[in-house]
Subunit: 227 residues, 2 copies
């Protein structure tokens, strides 16, 4: 019946039959950021063969993880989006990202950085309690990709692309990790030119509090991207 079944009556086995195929969870990762067209997914996953992408989307659709939606006029076309069931994978994908980031090491030349993966990395580093009472818009230029984060009293809305009217525009010229772990203070990072900002330096201080990683206590250090 189900091809390539594990033959076990077990939630883990069933989950892997649904989203355990190659590329499937990376497609879900990008769709967690927002609905995407076939070509958007292709751009975010340059190494996926198009026949595999099409096959995965069909399988995920059949499993109730993904839904096709015809785009309204005028920008006709099709988008893929997560169903509610698919959206419940967010915690798992974030957990995998945190776990895998510990093995990231240095960025290899052939490895690319995509906007959607950076948005998810930002979400893994988010500390809602540190964002209480804060309302600010950030535009981040990380490793050549542009994403944005809007904070509104403990809530984070992050997505790909620039942000008109951002309160702070932050551009990195080096790995961001030392700044987020606290190894380097915001002032020192600015002085050494590791990051450039347009806007209030105060907002950079807030940023590292809200997206702090480590420091080797509550969560193991080196556990988020931004390498």
């Amino acid at each position: 019946m189900v091809k390539r079944a594990y033959g076990q009556f077990c939630g883990v086995a069933r989950a892997l039959e649904i989203v355990g195929e190659r590329w499937a969870l990376l497609i879900v990762r990008d769709l967690l950021v927002g609905p995407r067209r076939f070509t958007d997914l292709r751009r975010g996953l340059p190494k996926i063969p198009t026949n595999i992408l099409a096959a995965r989307l069909h399988e995920l659709e059949e499993a109730g993880v993904v839904r096709r939606r015809a785009l309204p006029r005028p920008a006709s076309g099709t988008v893929y989006e997560l169903t509610e069931y698919g959206g419940e994978l967010e915690g798992i994908v974030l957990g995998l990202g945190r776990w895998g980031a510990q093995s990231l090491g240095e960025r290899r030349p052939e490895e690319i950085v995509t906007a959607d993966s950076m948005v998810m990395a930002l979400r893994t580093a988010f500390h809602p309690e540190a964002a209480r009472g804060i309302r600010a818009g950030y535009e981040l230029h990380l490793g050549g990709v542009v994403i944005n984060a809007r904070l509104d009293d403990g809530a984070l809305v992050a997505s790909a692309g620039p942000l008109a009217g951002a309160d702070l525009v932050l551009t990195t010229t080096a790995p961001l990790r030392p700044l987020l772990t606290g190894e380097i203070s915001p002032a020192a990072a600015l002085e050494r030119g590791l990051v450039r900002i347009v806007g209030e330096p105060d907002l950079l201080e807030r940023f590292v509090e809200i997206f702090r990683i480590g420091p080797a206590g509550e969560v193991a250090s080196r556990d988020t991207d931004f390498g």
Copy 2:
């Protein structure tokens, strides 16, 4: 360098390169219950080819997820166990189990139930706050496999096999889910013969409180095994 890399500098991608290969997370699932020998893993995963099992164990060992250990005398041999890094996958595996259990449906004839998968299913259903101040040992016969759970003031230690001196021995003759969701009261389940117990009926009441699933609120219903 790394074969079959996704080519993305992203924690999720790296995680999937390590534990995303077929069978890998099911091996981790079983090792989360405790150290296992090659043959133990084979028994728990009857459909895995032995060369694949050997290959996965090597890959996981090289990635720092699994460690080989020579068994001390007299019971000589080798066991595989999770490293600390591998153990950090517990939350992800439990999350996958919860998520996938929603798609379990009815048990198909060709699907087996294993002790290790039931132990993990029990852990996903565990509510520590409901176990505060309770000290009890359970032996559970679920779908033909025997596992045990020891509760000690909010802590759960569950493993495969029987439990000498258990306070309650519970044997199911039908899916356990209705009992754990609250659809059926413990008294009714006993009366209808869905479960048989040896020990104080009170301990059955406690059991369903501590391992309650649903009721369609805090966690979506039908989200755990015991089908």
